[in-house]
């Protein structure tokens, strides 16, 4: 079965640079979530989109923005990168059509800011 795809899998950037992470949800899933997991930390919710509209916002810095496109893929744009942005960034997708909503996570993008 198709899973959530994230690209790139690894990314190295320098301070003050920008980065774009991409997420391709499971086909027919209408909701995408972004989570950030720092080293040794639990995943923290950043932002989510439902049917291409932002639905919930968590601890996402103002330097970050995200959107969901007409094909339901999502991109997380990160500007003015800081050392503390080094983390695993997970995308998850879900569908409201099932009786219970379960989020399916992608493999993550590991971002290292030098």
């Amino acid at each position: 079965a198709a899973g959530v795809i994230q690209s790139p899998r690894h990314l190295i950037k320098e301070k003050r640079e920008t980065a774009t992470l991409k997420c391709y949800p499971i086909p027919r899933h209408d909701t995408v979530y972004w989570y950030q997991q720092g080293p040794g930390q639990d995943p923290q919710f950043l932002i989510s989109f439902y049917e291409k509209m932002q639905s919930d916002k968590g601890s996402i810095p103002d330097r970050f923005s995200a959107q969901q496109f007409s094909d339901y893929h999502s991109e997380l744009n990160m500007s003015s990168l800081e050392l503390g942005d080094s983390a695993l960034y997970f995308c998850a997708s879900s569908s409201d059509r099932g009786p219970i909503e379960t989020q399916y996570f992608g493999p993550g993008t590991r971002l290292l800011v030098l």
């Binding site: 909701t31 979530y33 989570y35 930390q41 639990d42 995943p43 923290q44 919710f45 989510s48 439902y50 639905s55 919930d56 968590g58 695993l88 997970f90 998850a92 879900s94 219970i100 909503e101 379960t102 989020q103 399916y104 996570f105 992608g106 493999p107 993550g108 590991r110």
Partner: protein, 112 residues
Amino acid sequence: SQQGEEDPQALSIQEGENATMNCSYKTSINNLQWYRQNSGRGLVHLILIRSNEREKHSGRLRVTLDTSKKSSSLLITASRAADTASYFCATLLSGSARQLTFGSGTQLTVLP
């Protein structure tokens, strides 16, 4: 503060033993889920228990939920070395919010 807090933070057992991890949360939930994460890898969904359920089984996993105490436990029976990973509980809050709130995780080490 975290919605979910887990204990113990780290657990080391011998292969064949059972492992029990606990999770507490603070607000009303729609459901509670357990995830597994191998070091630096992706999150794997293990099991979901709804707020109106008290116990659920899946293979060697047994999850309980006590909404009056706002706590859950994950029991892994007959553990294997391959069960070594971090285990997180995550809650889906009641209401319209759809994001998961994760606990701090338990690092389980199963020694061969």
